[in-house]
């Protein structure tokens, strides 16, 4: 129920601005409504009258009225209300309008206070009604339940508020919600929720009147139309007007050029793939070429070739996905020269018996380095800059910061004189191109690089240092046993870490959830 009267007549100072602004954006429905209200001037018109006189549908009226009210061209008086009746087939009628809780009181007065007996009492239709009676009896403070018996309290001698309202309703047939007092209002809310008691009917009683601003605008509208040298007015240009030259004698209605419109469906690249492409472009600009390789690798290339001993915990099932199959499955191994030199370097340095059967199992690559290293073995470049951004796998429990599959970015630079200072230089340039200015480098450890560094970058948005990529120079144990002559500078790390910063995500899983609203909502251009 509302009794609103909209804001009154508009601010005279800006009236002229408003007139010219409003007039350009009047919709035919608005014009139609104004044309009804205009001649009435100071007189209110009801909803029903307006519908009748305008010939518009209820829906059109509702929309038009909303727009006009928003523009302060009309005022609305809303005296809508709710009429309350007893339900036509109210179950109360059958028993003289006695509520179940009153029936219960009568029942107990007869000396019947055991619940089981009450349920059997002829007064009640079913046990549901008894339970309702007990609930409301308790609410009214009429009864006290002890074990399986019910006792009356003094309050039960008086009418409850609900009974009072019912009595009033029986007397006068119907009541208006706006006429109820507070306690009646509460009783109404309670009775409304109980089955088969009340019926309500909404009464709309709205009235409209044109404002001064509305009058001015309608005046202006009329003059404009009249002063138009007798030209016809059309809503929009039609093809036949163009073909038959009719447009020369036409004037076009001003349409609402400011109204917002629904967004269109569109096709789009995945935001993560898109960002990967942007980063690829940075690297290509720095002279790196992209390489690609398999996601499934032998343990040899994933571990052995990178100087990770066969008894090292990194190779445990807990961290690595080993592949299984109903058929026989054996990963291809390199030629015997390489196997021999790698096994020797393992045995000499790590003091254990290297076993070829530990090199054969297939794994899902835990890093991208097996691809890089195989590229170097195959191409044997004296100098090269290559990179890849590809999936890697870890057997971890998925959480907001861990995925089992994610992307790793890795780049290498090999040259006769490649050195640590250049590695720091390449990394700094790459970060700068991503927009990162504050960078720290610390020593760290990786099994296959030496010296090894990790980098921390300062993120302005989160105002904190974040660990990003690791880097180092491939150990001679790795390169020499694989026949790679020159030092190889390598750097890399998880790509999703960058993507979370880029897309402002707290939960890494969102990148792979494929929520269409999110996919469509991520702006294409970096802001």
């Amino acid at each position: 129920m509302s009794k609103n009267v909209s804001n009154d007549k508009s601010d005279p100072e800006s009236a002229n601005d408003l007139i010219s602004k409003s007039i350009v954006s009047l919709h035919p429905i608005e014009k139609r409504i104004l044309s009804i209200l205009y001649p009435l001037k100071e007189k209110w018109i009801t909803d029903n009258q307006l519908i009748k006189e305008s010939g518009l549908s209820i829906d059109q009226i509702r929309r038009g009225i909303e727009w006009l009210k928003f523009k302060n061209l009309i005022l609305i008086e809303d005296k809508s209300d709710v009429k309350i009746y007893l339900k036509n087939k109210s179950t109360l009628k059958n028993n003289g309008f006695v509520l179940p809780e009153r029936k219960l009181v009568n029942c107990i007065k007869k000396g019947n206070n055991n619940i089981a007996d009450i349920i059997k009492d002829i007064e009640f239709d079913n046990n549901k009604e008894v339970f309702a009676a007990i609930k409301f009896g308790k609410n009214n403070n009429w009864i006290n339940v002890e074990n399986n018996s019910i006792f009356l309290l003094p309050e039960s001698e008086f009418l409850s508020n609900e009974e009072k309202l019912l009595e009033k309703l029986i007397k006068s047939d119907s009541l208006l919600l706006s006429n109820l007092n507070n306690s009646e209002n509460t009783s109404f809310e309670i009775l409304k929720k109980r089955p088969n008691i009340l019926d309500i009917k909404k009464i709309t009683n709205k009235k409209y009147i044109i404002t001064n601003l509305g009058i001015s605008i309608f005046d202006k509208l009329s003059t404009d139309t009249v002063s138009d040298n007798g030209k016809d007015i059309e809503r929009k240009l039609a093809v036949e007007h163009l073909i038959n030259d009719g447009w020369r004698n036409l004037k076009f209605e001003q349409i609402d050029v400011e109204a917002p419109l629904p967004l269109l469906a569109y096709g789009k690249k995945n935001p993560l793939i898109d960002f990967i492409d942007e980063v690829k472009e940075i690297l290509i600009g720095m002279g790196f070429s992209e390489i690609d390789g398999n996601l499934t690798q032998s343990s040899f290339w994933n571990f052995d070739a990178l100087f990770i001993p066969q008894d090292h915990s990194a190779r445990d099932m807990q961290d690595t996905f080993y592949l299984t199959s109903a058929k026989t499955l054996a990963a291809p191994l390199p030629d015997t020269d390489i196997l021999k030199s790698v096994s020797q370097i393992h045995e000499n340095n790590w003091h254990y018996k290297w076993n070829i059967s530990e090199s054969k199992p297939y794994v899902l690559r835990t890093h991208t380095t097996p691809v890089t290293i195989q590229y170097l073995v195959k191409e044997k470049p004296d100098e090269d800059k290559v990179f890849l951004i590809g999936r890697v796998f870890r057997n971890e429990k998925v959480s907001f910061k861990h995925l089992v599959e994610f992307h790793q970015i890795e780049g290498i630079f090999t040259s006769k004189n490649a050195n640590l200072r250049q590695l720091i230089g390449i990394q700094t340039e790459f970060y700068n191109k991503l927009g990162i200015k504050k960078i720290k480098f610390w020593p760290t450890f990786f099994p296959y690089t030496e010296p090894s560094l990790q980098s921390m970058v300062y993120n302005d948005k989160f105002d904190k240092w974040i660990e990003l990529f690791g880097m180092g120079i491939f150990r001679p144990e790795v390169t020499l046993s694989l026949g790679i002559k020159n030092p190889v500078l390598a750097w890399g790390g998880g790509f999703e870490r960058l993507a979370m910063l880029r897309f402002d995500l707290d939960d890494i899983r969102e990148l792979y959830y494929n929520n269409l609203s999110w996919l469509k909502g991520v702006p294409k251009c970096l802001l």
């Binding site: 096709g267 690829k280 254990y352 057997n395 089992v404 030496e450």
Partner: protein
């Protein structure tokens, strides 16, 4: 990475002239990660890398910091290791199981305190997990010397031998220990392949330890302990010496006097431990400067080595580098160069402008082709999604793709039930994406470019695929086929043939193979209602998938040229 707790008071007491904040700021520059500072317990928790087990204690970290702050530089030395008659006799029956046992004795006037005991135990654990390869390669016993009568005997016993294990009141047989105690269950497998088990006795036949599983209770260290026996059993002599070396320096820094102990074994003869001879390596000065990109003088290099607690002798073009025996991570000249870099200070490296060489970077040919395909599909209104390569068996079952010919690649011991197999088709993943988006607006037009996996000739064959679906209440074969034809025409100016073929997951009579130049590259059809129902979709879906590797090969796209 393992974590060690360092008391703030130890830091400020060791470096009274340096601000605590400055000390903490420098920790990363010796390779330590600060995990957090606990103000209440006045402790800084630092992570150390597994190659530096000497950092498993506060003393090891202080030793390195004293070098970095130039309070004490060069090689740390344990003066006067005492001679002694302590002896372990090794029985030949341990030969195959765990042949090596070395040890030493450490004595001090005052008793161990709680903090020292906890540091020793956590260091022991870190050594077990790292160098000891979870005790498989080497394990350590730290004992109260004063309950032990020499000489010791390292031999084997059968599984019904019993003794009182650490922290127990009653005797357990070895069999019970292996079956019932946690350490027995965790490490029993290491020695379980033999019918005999290694055991260390003293001369009174009291049990000192059952390596690598548990110690005897008799020699337990407490706050009433001031003299220690340290023993390491192992399968590799180097690992045993490495561990004893790290522990010697630790106990020396704790104020203990170290005593030699001898092991007499039928395999090696008489071995004296600990063996703390520093490693000597001759490294060319040029090598160090070249790999670091610096121009350091011989004197500078020696100075930085000393800051890293190594030392060096100037030999004109070379440096003879001397490395303390506990630095088990240093064994190659490249490791020396890192020590020089750390002594110099990583933070002092100014960046070198990238090498003045011409490199022309380019994208991989696949990336170019895939982006062209993306561009056409996006123009046709399609949204790109990405899914994981590992999927659940259920998704495959729901799509009727549970592999009948055993070519499916499985995943061993996954920690997540939704990651069980490598997908052999992209469409099931796209279907589950549709299922997740039933509340979004239709039509939904999706595509994915990803890999599929199957076993071929005992090897895993990985192939790039494109999958595309259209979903709405009137989706049908003609719509998706028109997308496919548009794609192939706009992208490659080719036509495809689609001879009808029935697939379990498409509606009979509404599906086909896709042929390009007479070669099969994929399939297309209206998804079967049972599949739609399995994915709880209440709208229709049509799909196609094509093998991009085949397409690239047929059209010879890798030879793509601009002119």
């Amino acid at each position: 990475m393992p974590v060690v707790k360092v008391r703030l008071s130890s830091l400020s007491n060791s470096f009274p002239n340096i601000q605590l904040t400055e000390i903490i700021e420098k920790l990363p520059y010796i390779g330590l990660d600060i995990e957090g500072i606990d103000e209440k317990d006045e402790i800084v928790r630092v992570e150390f890398n597994p190659n530096r087990p000497d950092f498993a204690s506060e003393n090891g970290i202080l030793r390195a910091l004293r070098g970095l702050f130039e309070i004490e530089t060069g090689l740390p030395i344990i003066k006067n290791i005492e001679e002694s008659s302590y002896l372990i006799n090794v029985d030949k029956t341990v030969a195959e199981i765990r042949p090596i046992i070395y040890g030493f004795v450490a004595k001090r006037e005052n008793y161990l305190d709680e903090y020292e005991i906890s540091q020793l135990i956590s260091m022991q654990e870190d050594l077990h997990n790292g160098v000891g390869r979870k005790r498989k390669k080497a394990s350590i016993g730290i004992h109260d010397l004063d309950h032990i009568v020499f000489p010791l005997e390292y031999t084997t016993v059968s599984k019904d031998f019993s003794f009182i294990p650490l922290d127990k009141q009653s005797e357990f047989t070895i069999e019970n220990i292996l079956n019932d105690l946690d350490t027995g269950k965790d490490y029993g497998y290491i020695v379980n392949n033999y019918d005999k088990f290694p055991l260390l006795f003293d001369s009174q036949k009291n049990v000192i330890s059952l390596p690598p599983i548990i110690n005897g209770d008799m020699t337990k260290i407490t706050t009433n302990t001031k003299n220690l026996l340290i023993e390491v059993t192992s399968t590799a002599t180097k690992s045993a010496h490495d561990i004893l070396s790290i522990l010697s320096f630790e106990l020396h820094d704790m104020g203990f006097k170290i005593y030699y102990m001898r092991s007499y074994s039928p395999f090696e003869g008489m071995i004296k431990a600990p063996s703390l001879n520093p490693l000597k390596m001759i490294v060319p000065v040029d090598y160090i400067n070249k790999i670091l990109g610096l121009d350091l003088s011989n004197e500078d290099i020696i100075k930085y080595l000393q800051k890293s607690r190594c030392s060096g002798k100037n030999m004109d073009n070379d440096i003879e580098c001397i490395v303390p025996s506990y630095r088990i991570d240093i064994f190659n000249p490249i490791d020396i160069s890192e020590e020089v870099a750390i002594g110099y200070g990583i933070y002092r490296f100014n960046t070198s402008s990238p090498p003045a060489l011409y490199f022309s970077g380019k994208k991989h040919i696949n990336s170019k082709i895939f982006n062209n395909i993306r561009e056409i599909l996006i123009g046709l209104g399609y949204i790109e999604i990405i899914n994981t390569n590992i999927i659940s068996r259920k998704i495959l079952d729901d799509f009727f793709l549970k592999e009948k010919n055993n070519n499916l690649v499985g995943i061993g011991d996954s920690k997540n039930s939704e990651f069980e197999v490598l997908r052999n088709s992209l469409i099931p993943s796209i279907m589950s994406t549709l299922a997740k988006n039933i509340h979004e607006k239709y039509p939904q037009k999706l595509f994915e470019i990803g890999k599929t996996f199957q076993i071929q000739n005992s090897e895993v064959k990985e192939e790039w695929f494109l999958g595309a679906t259209i979903a709405h209440n009137n989706a049908d074969y003609t719509q998706i086929k028109s997308v496919l034809e548009s794609l192939i025409r706009y992208c490659f100016n080719k036509d495809i043939n689609t001879p009808g073929f029935n697939f379990e997951y498409y509606i009979n009579g509404h599906s086909a193979k896709i042929l390009l130049n007479e070669i099969e590259i994929g399939n297309i059809g209206e998804i079967h209602p049972q599949v739609l129902d399995n994915f709880k979709l209440r709208t229709l879906v049509s799909a196609f998938q094509i093998n991009l590797d085949s397409l690239i090969k047929i059209l010879n796209l890798t030879k793509m040229k601009y002119l």
